[in-house]
Structures are given as C-alpha cells and as structure tokens.
C-alpha cells in the first residue's frame, strides 16, 4: 500500500467529515431509514426470508451459464437480440455498435449501476452521442459531472440549495430551494421532452427470468417505463448475476428488495418486458437488445468463498446502516458500488488500485450483515478481500509482527507485562494516558487510553477464587486480553456477582488472545493457530459454559467452527466450544438469577456492543438486568450503533473512529445518565477514553461492575 494513496484517502475522509451539510443529511437519511425499514418488515421473519433469498441466489449463481442459454433462447424467440459482453470494454463496444447500426444519436437512460460500472456514458459521449440520464438523482449528478454516492439514492450527498442552484443554471430561471416540488417539475418537463425525442433507451434490470426471457425493472419514478416504451431502440444492460430461473425466485427477492432499499413494501413500478414489444416509433416492433455483462462475474461465481458476493440484489441497505457511510458518504465509501458490498466488488470489478485503501475501512460492526436481504456475510468477505489485496501487495511489517507475536503466547504476554513499565512515564495520574507521543500514534488525541494493569487477572486468580467443593456448575472464564491485562477489575466484579452461588470458575493460564485481531488483519493462519491454542487451554469438554466478559471475544470464539472447518483434528472441538460460549448477561439471567433490587434512581444509559447485539443476538438481557438492579435505564436512538472502536480500526482510521464516537457520546449525554454501561472491554476503552477526553462526568462501567455495585449497595 503506498503511503501517498493512504494519505490521499485520509485527506478525502477528513474533507467529508468537515462537510457539515453532508453529515446532517446522512444522519437524517440513516435515522429515517431505520424507522422505515423496521415498519416495512414488521410481522415478517426477516432472517428466515433473507436466508431463503441467499439460498435461491446461490442456486442461480451456481448455474449462470445454463440460465443464460435458457434466457437467450426464450428472449430471442420473442424477438429480442441477446448479447454477452466479456468485459466492460466489450459491453461499451456492443452498445456503441447498436447505436451506430440503428442510427441512434439521442439516448435516454434509466438508472443502471451496471452502466456506471462500465463507465458507459463517457464512452457514448466520446462517440458524439447525446446521453441523458432520466432518473432525477442520476440527472442531477450527470449535470454536475459526478458519480452516484448511493446505489438507490444517487444524489443523497446534495442539498436542496445545491440542486436549486444547478437547476437555475440549467433553466436560466431562478429556482427556489425550498420548493422541492417545483425542482422536480423542472426535471419532469425537461426529461419528458428528451424521452419523446430519443432514438434509443438504455435501462438496467433487476431480474432476468430464464423461464420466459423477461427482464424486470423496479423503480419509483416511472422513467424506466418511458425509457423502455418511447424510443424505437431499447438496450438493457444486465449483470449476469441478475439471472434467476423463474418468477418465483424473482418474487422472493422482490418481497425483500424495496423493503430493504427504502422500507417501501413494493416500489411504485415493477415492469416486465418480454421480447420485442409493440412500438409505433420503430414501425411496429421494438428493436430490443439485451446485453449481459460478465466482467469477472463468471469467474467469481466459481469461487467457493466470493461467489456469495453475487447474491447482492443492489438494495443499498449495507450503506444505509453503515456508521462509516453515515459519516463520509458514498463518494468516499465506494468506487462505483457503494457501501459494504462496494468494498468487495471494487476489487473484483475495478482492480487493486481502486480497492486498496477502501477495503480496510470496515469496523466489522456487523450492521450490514444482519440487514442484508441476501444474507451475505459482508464483513467476513471484506476481510477476505483485504487478504487478497495484502497478498498482491506484500504483507505490511505490522502484519508480520502480529503473526510472530500472537502465535507465541508467552512472548505476547511478556510484551504486555513490559508495556506496564514502558507506559509509566506517560500515565499522568496513573489511570489514563492522555497524551501519546505523536510519532507513536498520530490523530489519537480524541480519547485517552487506559494503562496496562500492574497485576493481570491471571496473576490475581488463585488469590481471588477459593475452590468450590461440589459445584453445581463448572465455568471456564475466557478473559481476553483487555480484561486480563487492562481491566482485571471487571473480572473481579464477576466473581462478586456469583459469590456464594456454588459455581466453580476456572481461569486457564494457557489461554491467549481470542485471535480476532489477527482475523481483522486478514491473518487467517495466525487466527487459526491461536484458536487451536485456546481450544487446548480452555478444555470446554469439561465445563458447562465458556463465559466471557468481552462480546467480541465471545462472538469470535463462536466463529471457531467456521475458522477451523477444514481442520479435522480441531473442527469437532471447535463446535463443542462454540456451543458452550455465553455472554455475561445471558449467563446471569439463565443461571444466577440476581435478586431484583429496589429502585435507587441512578440513571444509566447502555451501549450495545456490536458483537453482542448483532454477533450473538443478545438485545434485551443486559437492559433487563440493569432495570432489575434498580437502575433508571435511559434509552437513546443509536444504542445499537457501533462506538467506533473496532479494535485496530481506531488506530488505522482515527478520524472516523472519533467522529462515530462523538455522535454516540452526544446522544448518551442527552439522556441525562450519570453512567454508561456496556459489556465489552473494547467498548469500555473507547467510550471511557472519549468521555475522559471531553472532561465529561459520565462514568463508564462494565455490566459486571454496574451489577456488582448495586449488589454491594443492597447488602445490609
């Protein structure tokens, strides 16, 4: 990765973060979307339906060539001409050739991301053709000479004032930015005329049905209907992955696509074109050409891992829920394709250079994954794509070090202990490091950092935990690096909570880091090696539960079976461990049953760790425990939005980490809570560091500490 390209990308990110209008627009957009989506899916079993779409798409993607042949036979029998373009240049040539042969000079387009992928307009305009985008958002950005900043709402980065200014230039008449209906009217008038005069219409397609040779477009404005009806020539440019065997598959996708895109139950117009339809302008029948685009899709469809990316139905929801997109917008969070899917597809469709910086800009917060209507494991694919980029560019030094240190637990822990000594001169009052030397970690001033504990939890253990003679439960505690070496008091709080419960808690000294940081750095082999070490150390077979105080560790331990799937010696043990992993709140509710405490009125807000709410699907248990413990629990909108930590993400993208944290802390402060509770030490680090930096009086507590405090308080 070149330093220049990294510097340039960070400058762009900074520019976006400084753009206040953009931030406000995106925040409103994402806030509205959350509510609309929820309403759209109310009463539906979204995960089951998404899994169904994922399976249906997998089946289609597995037979793209057969579906193409079937489609071609049907569509050509109905009078269409079907083309297959191997790459972007080939597709541009085919379409320019059709324009030349049919004498088409004026072209109108309805929205097509695939045409953006091949940079079609530029090519056609270079041939002297007049190309007009007719989707309002696309027309706006075409007039401005920009690309789309969102797959569904291409001009979402612009304000009404910017649009009014643009339309004033276009019409020569002053336009009122507050009269949005009048702005839409300008486009309606201008574009209607262009569509009536055009020789050729170019559309995309959301589905291509092999069973009938039909193509379908899903739109709200209705421009696609006019574009496919008025001109005498119709060219549909379709990615090969849009092929589905039949209507039933298309309807399954259609049930989720608009709900995921905008929260609409269905888009205004779903239009199905089969063959050369009536067209008076063509002297009877439309001259219909359907151009399928390969551009790497067939190769991708054969890949055991990345073929999943072809499930994408282009709803844009991965951007709509992404905290990073919400801060910097699509022009800085994609190349042509935007959002999480864009981080993956950019590498495959537009190459290393376009992808190299982008692909690292992921928090792994899982928001895209749980909202994806095709059930794509986007964060995992992003990390795997980053691994491919790294393989092409050579491992950076930090990855080589990470591998060497993490696979060697004694060395890793030795270095952590040494850190205690090294940090001493930096820690002002002994609890926090507020100013790091800048050469060490630039842009880290948005939060203070905790100090490494003088005595890690593992060293305190034998002193803290008396043996239990005949335990009713045997629990293996997985500490994780942060609880063990930075926040041992969180582990001590756990012991207070289960004191007298007749539960034996073992702390295996050979346990190491869970390996998530290695996986996040796309160091899969290292992650597997660490996983094997932990499996051997934890001995899950002899425990009822493997308990962790860290949501990230828990969700990563649960991922061991996937990680070690191809390893016959360990896959079984990994399954065994994964089945026993449990988070603190679920464990307490299930096995401990804390006595409800009388309200003592202390106001708390809660931060839901990504890997707890989305990774493990635990949403209510921590809050129920807080209420039962007598706290005055105060909700806020972004409770389940990432805090911006993301492990090493906050070191690689400090400007974004800080911006995402700032939004969260603002909402927490507005609740009036004195204490912010969470159950992941990584989140504690980020939240506490940010609040300390702001000089805020709000305290941060791990759930274990918050509950232990009231338990102590309620004792006579």
């Amino acid at each position: 990765m070149s330093r220049a390209s990294r510097r340039e990308y960070h400058q762009r990110l900074k520019g976006a973060l400084d753009n206040r209008f953009l931030g406000q627009t995106l925040a409103r957009f994402q806030g509205n979307y959350r509510g609309s989506r929820e309403a759209g899916f109310s009463g539906m079993d979204f995960p089951a339906l998404a899994a169904e779409v994922g399976a249906a798409k997998d089946a289609a993607v597995g037979q793209l060539e057969e579906l193409y042949q079937q489609f071609k036979a049907k569509a050509e029998a109905a009078g269409a001409t079907v083309h297959l373009a191997h790459d972007a240049a080939h597709a541009r040539e085919i379409i320019a050739g059709i324009a030349a042969r049919t004498g088409s000079r004026r072209i109108v387009k309805s929205k097509s991301m695939t045409s953006e992928e091949i940079h079609l307009n530029r090519h056609l305009e270079a041939q002297g053709l007049q190309v007009t985008e007719t989707d309002l958002g696309e027309w706006i950005i075409q007039l401005r000479g920009e690309g789309p900043s969102h797959m569904v709402a291409p001009a979402i980065h612009l304000s009404r004032s910017q649009v009014a200014e643009l339309f004033t230039q276009v019409t020569g008449q002053e336009q009122d930015p507050e009269d949005i209906a009048a702005l839409v009217e300008v486009a309606r008038g201008r574009l209607r005329q262009a569509m009536l005069e055009a020789d050729m219409g170019i559309s995309g397609a959301n589905f291509a049905l092999a069973s009938t040779g039909s193509i379908a477009t899903v739109t709200n404005e209705g421009n696609a209907r006019l574009v496919t009806t008025l001109p005498r020539v119709h060219v549909a440019l379709v990615g090969l992955e849009k092929l589905v065997p039949d209507l039933n598959t298309a309807l399954k996708i259609l049930r989720l696509l608009p709900r995921s895109a905008t929260g609409q139950l269905i888009s205004t117009y779903v239009t199905w074109v089969t063959g050369a339809v009536e067209c008076a302008a063509a002297g009877g029948r439309k001259d219909l050409h359907i151009v399928f685009l390969d551009n790497g899709r067939l190769a991708l469809s054969q890949d055991p891992v990345f073929s999943q990316a072809l499930r994408c139905v282009r709803c844009g929801s991965c951007a709509n829920v992404c905290p990073i997109f919400g801060k910097v917008g699509g022009h800085n969070y994609g190349h042509v394709y935007i959002g999480a899917i864009g981080l993956i597809l950019t590498y495959f469709y537009h190459g290393l250079e376009a992808a190299q910086e982008l692909v690292n800009n992921c928090l792994n917060c899982q928001a895209c994954k749980v909202n994806c209507p095709a059930d794509i494991d986007l964060p995992a694919l992003i990390k795997k794509t980053a691994g491919l980029v790294m393989a092409e560019q050579g491992r950076p030094l930090k990855n080589q070090l990470l591998r060497r240190v993490m696979t060697n637990r004694p060395l890793f822990h030795f270095l952590l202990r040494r850190a205690y000594l090294a940090q001493k001169p930096l820690a002002g009052d002994g609890r926090k490091i507020r100013h790091l030397p800048l050469f060490f970690a630039p842009d880290q001033e948005f939060r203070s950092l905790p100090v490494v504990a003088a005595e890690p939890l593992r060293d305190r253990w034998s002193r803290l935990v008396p043996p239990v003679a005949e335990p009713r439960l045997k629990v293996a505690l997985f500490g994780g690096c942060l609880v063990d070496f930075v926040y041992p008091e969180q582990g001590e709080a756990l012991l207070e909570l289960i004191d007298g419960q007749n539960i034996q808690v073992d702390y295996a000294r050979d346990q190491s880091c869970c390996g998530l940081p290695a996986a996040m750095a796309s160091e899969e082999e290292t992650a597997r090696e660490v996983a094997r070490q932990n499996l051997a150390a934890l001995n899950a077979e002899h425990h009822d539960y493997v308990l962790t105080l860290c949501a990230s560790c828990a969700s990563h331990l649960k991922n061991y079976p996937k990680l070690l799937a191809g390893d016959p010696g360990w896959a079984g043990r990994a399954e065994h461990l994964a089945a026993k992993v449990i988070d603190l709140a679920s464990f307490l509710q299930k096995e401990v049953g804390l006595e409800p405490t009388a309200a003592q009125g202390k106001a708390v807000a809660y931060h839901a760790p990504c890997h707890l709410c989305r990774g493990l699907g635990v949403h209510e248990a921590p809050k129920e425990l807080l209420r039962d413990a007598g706290y005055d629990y105060r909700p806020y909108d972004d409770e389940e939005v990432c805090c911006g930590f993301g492990g090493s993400y906050s070191l690689d993208f400090p400007e974004l980490s800080a911006a995402i944290l700032e939004r969260k802390l603002g909402q927490v402060a507005a609740t009036g809570a004195d204490t912010l509770v969470t159950d992941c030490p990584g989140c504690v680090l980020q939240l506490e560091g940010g609040l300390d930096h702001l000089g805020s009086p709000i305290k941060v507590r791990h759930l274990a500490q918050a509950l232990a405090e009231t338990k102590k308080g309620s004792e006579p």
Binding site: A77, V163, N220, T229
Partner: protein
C-alpha cells in the same frame, strides 16, 4: 383472507401509497367518475385505449356530458394533450395495494405513463392476498410473448432531493383505482 378482508387491506395499502380507491357499482359509473374527475381537474381530453365497443359507447357518452374529447389511439402524437389515461387492471394485490396491468398494447402503456392522472378499473373479484397467490396467472402472462406487464403501486414518486417525497416525478401525478363489485 375473506373477500371483505382482501378489499379492506387492498384499500388500506393502496391509500398508504397515495392511490385513491373508489368503489363503483358498474362500468357506467366508472366511466362517469373518470370523466367527471377529468373535467373537475380542468382536463379537456381523456385517453382510453383497449376498451370494447359497448364500453366505449358508454364512455363516449360520459365524456360528452363533461365536454371532453375521447381518444383511443395515436397517443404518442397527442403526448401532453390528454389529462387522463383510463385503463383496465387485471388483478389487485392486497399486501401492497398494487394493481397488475397487462401493458402489451403500446397505446395502453402511453395512456398510463403520459397522462397526468391514471384511472384504472379493477374488478374486486380479481383481488389476491399477495403476488405469490397470482403466480400462475403472472406466469401465463409472461409466457405470452412479446409482452409488457406492469405492477403499479400508487402514483409516480421520487425522494431524490433530500429524500423529500414528491409525487409525479415522471408518470401520473395521481392514481385512481375504481373498484368494481360485479353483480352488486
């Protein structure tokens, strides 16, 4: 779902996407309403391709009562002149308030795309719970090639400027669904 439930849900969902649903007793009432609506909105011309001769006679009478011109073909040349496009809809979908319109005829497509107001006559007996319940019918329609089939849910809309919902981006600004209870 009972017929009554289907009608209620269809109406609820169609209205949620800004369509106007009005029950009518017979085609003559539908034609009278379409003509009246056009005249009330200041339109001078109503486009109605694809109707049977006896229906057209009734519609023509309704248009004459309101002083409207009725056209049934050559719509491309008359773009911008007709206020209302009057078509049939083959089916209605309760889950989403959608009408399904077989649009293989180009004149019919133009009537429903280039008009300011689209009025569709839908027989209430052709309401279904969801698109899956129509799968067989839709498959036969798609197999009848060449063809053009439209699912329409409310009037044309856009949210492309600051996500402010605005109706009438490109197609009709209003969608009126006249729901025909046959035998009533």
């Amino acid at each position: 779902m009972s017929h009554n439930d289907l009608r209620q849900e269809f109406r609820r969902q169609a209205e949620a996407v800004s369509a106007v649903v009005t029950p009518v007793a017979d085609p003559a009432e539908a034609f009278a309403r379409a003509a009246r609506l056009t005249a009330e909105q200041g339109g001078a011309c109503l486009a109605a391709p694809g109707w049977e001769a006896d229906e057209l006679a009734s519609l023509k009478a309704a248009c004459e009562r309101e002083g409207l011109e009725l056209i049934t073909q050559g719509l491309r040349e008359r773009a911008g002149e007709f206020h209302t496009g009057l078509t049939r809809a083959q089916w209605g979908v309760a889950e989403t308030g959608t009408i399904v319109v077989n649009s293989a005829s180009e004149e019919l497509r133009l009537a429903s795309m280039l008009s300011e107001v689209h009025v569709a006559l839908l027989t209430a007996a052709n309401l279904r719970a969801d698109l899956f319940a129509l799968e067989q019918e839709l498959n036969s329609t798609l197999a009848d090639a060449p063809g053009y089939l439209a699912f329409i849910s409310g009037p044309s809309r856009t949210g492309d400027i600051e996500l402010v919902l605005t109706l009438g981006a490109h197609g009709p600004r209003q969608l009126h669904i006249l729901l025909l209870e046959e035998g009533s």
